[in-house]
Symmetry: C2
Amino acid sequence: MMMNSTKKISMKDIAKELNLSITTVSFVVNGKSDSISPATVKKVKDLIKKRGFNPNSAARMLRTGKSKTIGLIIEDNGNYFFGNIAKIIETEAHKNGYNVFLSSTENNDDTAKALINKMKNSSVDGFIITATQGIKEEIDKLKKENIPFVLLDRLMPEVETNYVILNNYKGGYDLTKHLVDNGYERIGFISIHDGMSQMIDRKKGFLDALRDASKPFPEKAMLEVSFRQSHEEILETIKTYIKNNPELDALFFATNYLGVMGIEAIQQSNLKIPEDIAVVSFDDNDLFRLLTPSITVAAQPIREIATKSIELLLKIIKKEQKQVTMVGEVIEPTVIIRNSSPKKKRA
Amino acid sequence: MMMNSTKKISMKDIAKELNLSITTVSFVVNGKSDSISPATVKKVKDLIKKRGFNPNSAARMLRTGKSKTIGLIIEDNGNYFFGNIAKIIETEAHKNGYNVFLSSTENNDDTAKALINKMKNSSVDGFIITATQGIKEEIDKLKKENIPFVLLDRLMPEVETNYVILNNYKGGYDLTKHLVDNGYERIGFISIHDGMSQMIDRKKGFLDALRDASKPFPEKAMLEVSFRQSHEEILETIKTYIKNNPELDALFFATNYLGVMGIEAIQQSNLKIPEDIAVVSFDDNDLFRLLTPSITVAAQPIREIATKSIELLLKIIKKEQKQVTMVGEVIEPTVIIRNSSPKKKRA
DNA sequence: CTGAAAGCGCTTACAG
DNA sequence: CTGAAAGCGCTTACAG
């Protein structure tokens, strides 16, 4: 009564104090109290509350093999899209009693591999992974070891598994068709060339829309940079590209941060959007909405993507869904038409 | 050889296979092999690599009481500032062998409390916390229980502990002085009124700068909204405020997302920055940099804040730093002067 | 309705 | 230089 010892209390302690067995305590703690008399249940519950008992998660984990934590591996938590995805996934996870280990790969294979292995050793119950290109082996191993996971945002070529992705093809197609419908004829395409599935699909959508509209697409109107390049390098590359392609009347940026850098490059090239060049981009954010002119985008429904992926993972963990089969969600993008791509004035 | 069993291998397995004791295996796994013959060490290491053995973290955790994970509780992972803070902290934590549980409070006391308790039960070795207003009790309990933690971004009134914060007073003062120096006379101040320390300090800096310049500050030029209001409500409130204060020639936004909403409100009010009204904001982001005109800001050195806080926490965990004393880092902000606050033209 | 006991996979004092 | 053994705090089949 005098001193509240700081030592944590255990089931043994409360069993002893109540002259009960640890078994009984364990049963009521875990709600398996069907076979326990109501009076006993009450006694135990009361003392637990009074003493502030919480079961030791390490012991439970060791015994059951379940950690009630999931590993979330994304590309870049500092990016609007992924930061918000992560926030929603965490919130949903907590609602379901799970903690989440979060980390960013920055699209680096070695980082991704290290992260997966570290979290495997920390016994996560499952993963949500935004895959980098070179981790097929780790993903295959996850499958072989029967560790639940779902792929987010992009697929791995030749790996059948659960996934939640955007309909990137449609986003690419629709955004391009919008440009064509508004009279743009020579559209440049700026993307990442590291072979990620979402980028491939966006490009395919773009090219198909041009083909369907019988618009040409000269080789030099394609600019593909690498994720590994620095901000400055990419900025310079885009500026050079703009200078070397003066005939372009519109630019399609295949991703969020490329769009941001593209706008910076256009500003520094002293070109005006949309008078000198129209702009559309994949992904939405505050910048695109508030810029003058505001930027037309193919927005990803962030909440839906996040919710579906944690729901799917939880189903797999609870064995309501098989890991091995190729089951997934394809979420539809929304084209938001703003002021960066108005109907083109005749030259 | 034929079938690789999927079952995880344990120290016992490798001890048996080598005719050694578990003790010996444990020693080499943990690098306490001073007393083990080099030959034995090699044998063990080779087999570990061959079998792909990894120590069971739950067992280790149960035995040692250390989980090698830290709990990171921030305001909003979807926000530029916090998303990047989290990314850097995670990266540094992993370098030091720690995983991190991440979650966002959205500035909600109940969420914050639930998160702290959940993570305590999950036996994190320490916390980095962006405190909400009403969690003094939980913070005090953390101190009493001797759980390492550091407060990030804002202090708790009347709680002495370790912290890493920005020099918010200086940011508020310098940004205001910049405005005054450029000839602005009637400056409006838009902030959050939930009593958080960083907001109080920014306001104090603002008011002191005005006082030092002998500029008046009428009561009605102050707008303080609540974190709990929706995006739409805040937007409308700011628009009304702008309409009711037509004499203002400059606006000071005390935070990132308030600045973003403020710009939206100004746009919707058909006012021009800076001709009709100048603008400065706390925090930097892509939007402020790329907008026309670009926005003058007091930027927080994100990397420094993040690195210092994880370094400090690790020190406390390793007992190189006492928890109880009030020790912390105050990071200096940088005023970045851009085009939203030019020298004022004479009316 | 309740309990005794094994065991999850480690670490670590102690013994030799 | 190496090993036998206790114990961290749970869960769970089994017994009564």
